[in-house]
Subunit: 137 residues, 6 copies
């Protein structure tokens, strides 16, 4: 039973402000520069969710793409699409919504909505020049 990596991509539009509660105003400004601007800015975030598993010989698939798409819709898209990450998403009340943390939060959201052991990687593309991968390490 060959093992493959199946990836589904989705795009959401969100605003955020990089700001850590554990740093002073000055430290935030110095570390995050224009990304710390008080009234926020935004991105079209692309998320790529990869599951890893054997190909079911009866069906020819690892898991139903429709179910993978639904898992992304019910978690990431429902809570983050067309939202202000800092103000609208509970997970970022006390957590800086950096691309790194967004990837980890998406992983946590997805883990419970997917068959156990399948989730392999979450990629968050923030701009065409920077992106982050998280593999549950």
């Amino acid at each position: 039973m060959p093992v493959v990596y199946l990836t589904r991509r989705a795009v959401f539009s969100a605003s955020h402000r990089l700001h850590s509660n554990q740093l002073s105003e000055d430290e935030n400004r110095q570390l995050f520069g224009k990304c710390n601007h008080p009234r926020g800015h935004g991105h079209n975030y692309a998320i790529e969710v990869t599951v890893r598993g054997g190909i079911d010989p009866r069906t020819g698939i690892v898991m139903n793409l429709t179910e993978l798409k639904a898992a992304i819709e019910e978690t990431v898209m429902r809570s983050m699409d067309h939202r202000n990450l800092n103000l609208d998403v509970p997970q970022f009340q006390d957590l800086n919504p950096t691309a790194e943390n967004i990837a980890v939060v998406c992983w946590q959201m997805l883990e419970d909505h997917l068959p156990e052991g399948l989730l392999h990687e979450v990629v968050i593309r923030e701009t065409e020049n920077n992106f982050v991968r998280y593999r549950g390490e």
Copy 2:
């Protein structure tokens, strides 16, 4: 002297909320749906600025690409990049920051920073699935 169209592209990250002062709360919600969400959302906007002119036979160019890039930096990028369009950009105090209006405002900003008669078109790409062109009509 052959006439060509020269285009320069730049990308800015901004947040906005679609909301018109001339509509009721209900009308705004109905017309703009999730784009009317109160705390806003965001995009990576790509702007493409096109100038149209004859090729200078001495230099081989229509205008210096460095100057075209500088004109975009000093106008669009300076006022909109990493900003909240509704709250940070004076032109949108009383104007709904739709892709249509962003294109018109960018045109107005650029017109004074470019040699007269050269500006031909401004394209604003808001997501990979929608964009707007404005040609000064």
Copy 3:
């Protein structure tokens, strides 16, 4: 009232075979080569639909993007997505489903579903190396 061009993009997956009823088997084979292969092949077609109109000063938009998206869904996507163009789409019963003809058929389908006079251009991208524009000429 500034006039802008607003474009919405959608992607559909379809199969087709290039074959004209008005040509002999040999002429078809010679003209269309591997695209004439009897059991067909397929593409991810991207369609870009552009409307042209004035920006409504009350709302800041040319037309509601949701309605433009719905018009594409109800016409092009409903009849062509995940279909065999030659066998499933009535318009191609006697018409060769070339990119050229697909663009014209999409224009005809869309014209009745959009406010009169707004439709400006239909682009069909067949591969990353070829596409067709139709403007109702």
Copy 4:
């Protein structure tokens, strides 16, 4: 001798129908939805073939890119480009042509045409929103 991963990409246009001989008509319809549509649909598939090996200090390359390209042409492109995967490709006579299985079949085709031990990964991109990786596991 540094070890690098060298990737070559190619694009082929094919039609297919998701349908497993080991499932009933109803099960196929329920599992694959519109992808099970009887007369098929199609995609522009992008394949990315990665070889892994040391850089030859005499030449500066892992393997000749022209030979890698030729290996893809003689196997994947020759049998799948501008074809109906279900009806034209012997490997899919009794195998559902899902992206997962396409990746495995391409790996098997390529393995014999490449120097032993070099093949590392095959990626099949079916749409801009889903793709599959196979690494011979």
Copy 5:
């Protein structure tokens, strides 16, 4: 007979140096900056060639895509792909190989290889942030 615009894209890799014989060394350096660097630099140029014409009702096409591709191969690709534009292409012996001039030279090369009156536009994309259009004006 509907009129459509059919576009074919190709990519060539070339090196060039921006330098005009009609300017002094200092003027060249000041105007073109790093693009005037003496030993040159390079780009993957994408060319998009558009023909405009009526759809032939017998065939369903404006012109054979294979012939359009061949016209690009025999002219632009043959003389510019994997070449140094300044040193290898006769047209640039006394002409600065700017994107503007490359577009005009490609137009001139293509005009004689295409049915009269069909050539509508040549686009040259030099980087992901700048491109030029020429329409024979």
Copy 6:
């Protein structure tokens, strides 16, 4: 402390000629074909630099993206952008500037400009159809 992979992308325009000092003229011509053309050609190279590390719980980041960008600017961009790799970059005086070797040289340049142990991968994309990964193996 979750471990993530953070990637930054940059694009540089360079010219090169594939030619190994350790091969004869004939061997070079046979192995590298048009890439061995004497006066060189060029590419828009995209480099993707990935660092791997734990998310700092105080800041929410692995490392400051501005510093990662600066490290790429001061090394790869400064020495290779708008340059002739064979003639302008000391590392390629006796080393064939293949994509494989460019990736290794970029890794060596970056290693000293990044916090120890963070550098994970360098990707060099030479054209839209070929790219190379190097992970320090």
